[in-house]
Symmetry: C2
Subunit: 345 residues, 2 copies
């Protein structure tokens, strides 16, 4: 379908601060002061406001950024837009907006080349701050960025040793509680569908699993520790291997949402009843888990709290640049008991 565009689109040069100053009979400096919230003589203010209205003036943030060195852009570098990131984005964009900034997003899909590309792009765009899940592959680049004065906030995966702020959840304790719950139900052969243990969250969730077993004096059986690589396919594959064992586990702790979906799919395909034949607890909670039959017992991350913390940390650092103190905010998780974990028969 081809339509004619209105030809009367008056594409005039947009008004500048100079035009406003001229129309309002004041100096550009005065207009700039007005725009930036400084006190202005009342008469002038009214004239400026009238001029802005009349000229339909919109301040050019690009030019402002060039002078002030502040772009009011916060870069967000994520590996993927799974359910967790969707919800995070919802809250984060809201929280960031409160301070007059917006989110510039880049999704790298675990590709190191794209990670570097993203970091370069962000540097190029002169973002005010960067939020990212740490990735070893770009340790040096991030270090460099921080060295150049860019505030960075890590989440999900830490890059130890870098002078940055951090927002994490109690991955280890929450996982421990989740596995302890399975132990309380009488399970002893408990498997973990682990995320990448090079990621701090992957490691900590695994360590929580180890902790819980250790509390009850149960040794960690390597055959029950399978790597799911955070992905749905990895989760399905991992469960498949578990079911092929001579002594399959009676319960599984899955370390994130996509792997849980994969696990459920595999279990369904293999005709294994949850929780009849095998119990399941998931890290990460989504609305549909409550509707699944049975409901999926899950660790719920405080996503809104994470977003708020990120925004606050950034706002604080931008307001008072203090390279020495780096903040680490660690939030608690809830465990939501549903029907996917039941006492061992």
């Amino acid at each position: 379908m081809i339509e004619e565009l209105g030809g009367d689109a008056a594409k005039r040069r947009p008004a500048t601060i100079l035009d406003v100053a001229k129309t309002a009979n004041v100096a550009v400096g005065t207009v700039s002061r007005y725009l930036n919230g400084y006190t202005i003589r009342r008469g002038n203010r009214e004239q400026i406001e009238a001029a802005i209205e009349a000229l339909n003036y919109k301040r050019n943030a690009v030019a402002a950024a060039m002078k002030s060195e502040l772009s009011h852009l916060v870069g967000l570098l994520v590996p993927t837009f799974d359910e967790f990131h969707g919800v995070l984005l919802e809250h984060l964009s809201r929280a960031i907006r409160r301070d007059g900034r917006a989110l510039l997003i880049y999704c790298h899909g675990a590709d190191p080349k794209i990670m570097r590309e993203a970091l370069d792009y962000f540097a190029t765009q002169r973002i005010d701050a960067l939020i990212m899940a740490g990735a070893e592959e770009v340790y040096d680049r991030v270090d460099e960025l921080i060295g150049s004065g860019l505030p960075v906030v890590f989440y999900n995966n830490d890059l130890k040793g870098l002078p940055a702020d951090r927002v994490f959840v109690e991955n280890r304790k929450a996982s421990q509680r989740a596995v302890r719950h399975l132990l309380d139900l009488g399970h002893r052969r408990i498997a973990i569908l682990s995320g990448d243990q090079h990621d701090s969250s992957g490691l900590e969730r695994y360590l929580g699993y180890v902790d819980a077993l250790g509390e009850r004096g149960i040794p960690v059986d390597p055959q029950y520790v399978v790597q799911g690589g955070w992905t749905m396919l990895g989760g399905a594959d991992g469960v498949k291997r578990l079911l092929e064992l001579e002594e399959p586990p009676t319960a599984i702790f899955s370390a994130n949402y996509p792997m849980t979906v994969g696990a459920l799919r595999c279990l369904k395909e293999q005709g294994r009843k949850v929780p009849g034949e095998i119990s399941l607890v998931s890290f990460d909670d989504v609305p549909l888990f409550g509707l699944h039959e049975p409901g999926i017992t899950a660790v719920a991350q405080p996503v809104e709290g994470i977003a708020e913390a990120m925004a606050n940390v950034i706002a604080a650092r931008l307001a008072r640049p203090d390279p020495r103190a780096s903040r680490a905010i660690i939030l608690d998780c809830d465990i939501i008991l549903r029907g996917s974990a039941r006492p061992l028969a």
Copy 2:
């Protein structure tokens, strides 16, 4: 020049194109030409590359944007980050990146004030293009933006009459097929959980429902048309009302994903079996629908195709500044048959 206080952090002023030119013994113009991909004498190119490396030069996109009037930013204004938008973002950010641009996102949560704020912010940031679900509340502002030369792409909800590009799916036909499927199974009392019919997608999905009934000579019974307002709560509430009818429907067509979740929750709470007592078909598909017991029969939008189309439309329009034609791309949907709809007993 003025030195930053605190001499320990090597927070030197970043290198500029001028520094590069000086180090490479060429003129700034030459460096600029190199940066923008024009041909350069080989010796110079090598010198420039060496200088960039040595100085760790990162081009300042802000300054470049000011001159070229191109920010390489694409604004994305969404109502909310539901599952659909998560997947969309995944593909869109990738597609947009191919052209060297990134996504500047803003989430308005159906608040007209925030919509206006977002539009102002985008204008201020001098974005190159805008992707948004149309909203009547800001018709005039969007019109103004388009008038000023900003390319706009609508999705999900159209704002008729505006000279913009459009990427939509065959909402009406896909809905018709979905309802036809229920009719084929013998259902006659079919309800629709409708989205906001002021949204073009809401209206078209409703019209598809009407079409399907009309084909079979079945009149539309108003009591079977309930407004769910696109939300989970609205969906739950709508189903509740349906179940209280003297003659409840034997099948429900839900017009989007959140409403389907709400519907499932309500049906579960009320102890109604799906599909034993009531059949269900959903617009929008998510991985978990396949794992639900029963699997949810759903209309799958080609989200990747939507993202690709958006990126292409923008790239095309930005490449050829004043094509007097607006493009409307309409994509087909698949219907995925699972177990939530079964023949009427």
